[in-house]
Amino acid sequence: MPDATGLELLAQEIGKDEPDAVLDTVYFRDRATILVDPGHVKAVMGQLRDRGYRFMASVHGVDYYPDEPRLGVLYELLDMEKVDRLTVKLRVDIDTPEVDSVVEVFPTADFQEREIYDMFGVVFRGHPDLRRILMPEDYEGFPQRRDFPVGGEPVTFTYNQSKIPHYTE
């Protein structure tokens, strides 16, 4: 893991080439996270790839419901030579969920970005084939958002048995 000072140095180096790309660095449970501005994500990814983080393990979306820029996208990078993990995080507002796709830099992000679009509604500009991947293609709504109901059937008990239509109607 890049320790706290290594993380700061890395952030400054990226800051030199890409002015105001790095918004914040977090060092939590000896894991390094860089908060990046959504506009510069492709450039930062390219730089990190040249610095040795050539493998991207995972891309996943998070809905930080109460606090404001609600949708987050996290990229888990891995440097196989130095066995070094780094998380790049960006926060996007829910009304304009637009981010550049990093498929050119890391082709592994193809399916995973489609899943984030399917589950959270974050649109990835420049993605070769941005369609729903897990839900049916004509499904409305983004299920993983916090305000989307878990859904499912109400369980039939004695008291609510008359209100629920018979199970197999």
Partner: protein, 417 residues
């Protein structure tokens, strides 16, 4: 396609891609190309994987994996459960590697809470993880053999799988989805006869692998079907994020158990089987060699099994033992607190990765301080490995497509979550 009335009223537009023109941009004349569904209900797709295949007579020109037919919304369900209730749900994700799912989640939460797992629990976890890896490889061998025409291999492989499920049943009470791993350690200590049974299994397993290798490894049909098909070089695999036996078959010895040892894997010495060419035959041999290595790990773990608690002493996370409830008041309070609401995890988020039977299985957990996780995401190796399927299967024969799908070993529960 009008569906009968009592199907849910949601309109069923199945075809996102315009299937008629899917393969058109290729250079072959139109009427030669046939785009057909190698669909969700197919004996050799290992579950509900759908491959949209564009064929030119027998040669596969283009293949697009379409997934989602087993999407169960597990990550959404996890957000509705308290931490110790998430384990049974998350175990049903990749249903051949249930101990690995539980280990990834428990590892992430233990790192979040900062609880320290006792040495004996770590060794017990390693034993069950490696037994589960062998079981997963046996199911792959059985179903892979069916696809390559070696029907009898199914019965060889499932005979060993049954002994393994007996061991799981002995230690945890259930054959599959055993909920044996807890945050902070293991649910129960192993019963007295367990060690002898595992040693007996470890004694006969290499012989069983020799039997299978004697039948398959020099079998002319198997050599013709597997050697030289589905060849992919290491850099393409790395670009597509492929890890696990597929990457090791291409020559890159990347294995998280050696690279970033977790749960005291550094105490055991075992080798990482690595292929050279990166074709289906290497993948087959790498997995068979991995079974032998796992047996070695289990034997070393059994020899070095330390005494001591099988569960962390931190009562904030682990249920107190039963006899303590009768005497001490604090145990009763902790017990009540844990059973009703479950333990609270300080806010934070982190990603914890382990080496599953199909590649890097990572679990991202975000907690907002309450007793329920705010977000649980599992990076499933099969989901990422499927992206490289087009590079493996394009411009090969249909028979090689089936052999490559068998050697890729995708488990649809993990892919669709």
């Amino acid at each position: 396609m009008s569906t009968p009335p009592h199907i849910s009223d949601r309109p069923r537009g199945e075809q996102g891609i315009d299937v008629a023109t899917a393969g058109k941009q290729l250079e072959a004349p139109e009427e030669q190309l046939l785009t057909i569904n190698f669909g969700p209900v197919h004996p050799s797709t290992h579950g509900v994987l759908r491959l949209l295949v564009t064929l030119e007579a027998e040669v596969v020109r283009d293949v697009t994996p379409i997934v989602g037919y087993l999407h169960t919304g597990i990550e959404k369900t996890c957000e509705d459960k308290s931490y110790w209730k998430v384990v049974p749900v998350i175990e049903r994700m990749d249903y051949l590697a249930y101990y690995f799912n539980a280990m990834a989640f428990c590892g992430a939460v233990e790192a979040l809470v900062g609880v320290e797992v006792p040495k004996r629990a770590q060794y017990l976890r390693v034993i069950h993880l490696e037994l589960n890896r062998i079981m997963s490889h046996m199911v792959w061998l059985g179903t892979g053999g069916l696809e390559l025409g070696a029907i009898s291999i199914f019965w060889y492989a499932f005979r060993d799988k049954e002994t393994l499920l007996d061991l799981f049943e002995m230690s945890s009470g259930q054959r599959m989805h055993t909920r044996y791993f807890q945050v902070g350690g293991v649910f129960e200590d192993i019963p007295p006869g367990f060690e002898e049974k595992v040693r007996a299994f470890c004694a006969e397993m290499p012989g069983r692998v020799d039997q299978v290798e004697a039948i398959l490894s020099r079998n002319e049909i198997m050599l013709q079907r597997l050697r030289g098909t589905g060849v992919t070089d290491e850099q393409t695999l790395l670009d597509h994020g492929v890890t696990g036996p597929l990457l090791r078959a291409a020559g890159n010895p990347w294995d998280l158990r050696k690279a970033a040892p977790y749960s005291s894997y550094e105490d055991f010495d075992f080798k990482i089987p690595v292929g050279s060419v990166g074709d289906n035959y290497d993948r087959f041999r790498v997995r068979m060699a991995e079974v032998r290595e796992s047996v070695k790990i289990i034997e070393q773990a059994l020899d070095g099994l330390p005494e001591g608690p099988f569960m962390t002493e931190d009562r904030k996370v682990a249920l107190p033992p039963r006899h303590e409830l009768g005497t001490s008041m604090e145990a009763l309070i902790h017990h009540f607190k844990l059973v009703t609401e479950g333990f609270r995890v300080p806010p934070g988020e982190l990603y914890y990765a382990i080496e599953g039977p199909r590649g890097e299985l990572g679990c991202f957990v975000r907690s907002d301080g309450s007793a329920k996780p705010a977000r649980v995401h599992v990076r499933d190796p099969s989901f990422v490995n499927l992206q490289a399927f087009r590079e493996m299967a394009a411009d090969g024969y249909v028979a090689d497509l089936i052999a490559t799908a068998a050697m890729l070993d995708p488990v649809m529960g993990g892919v669709d979550r």
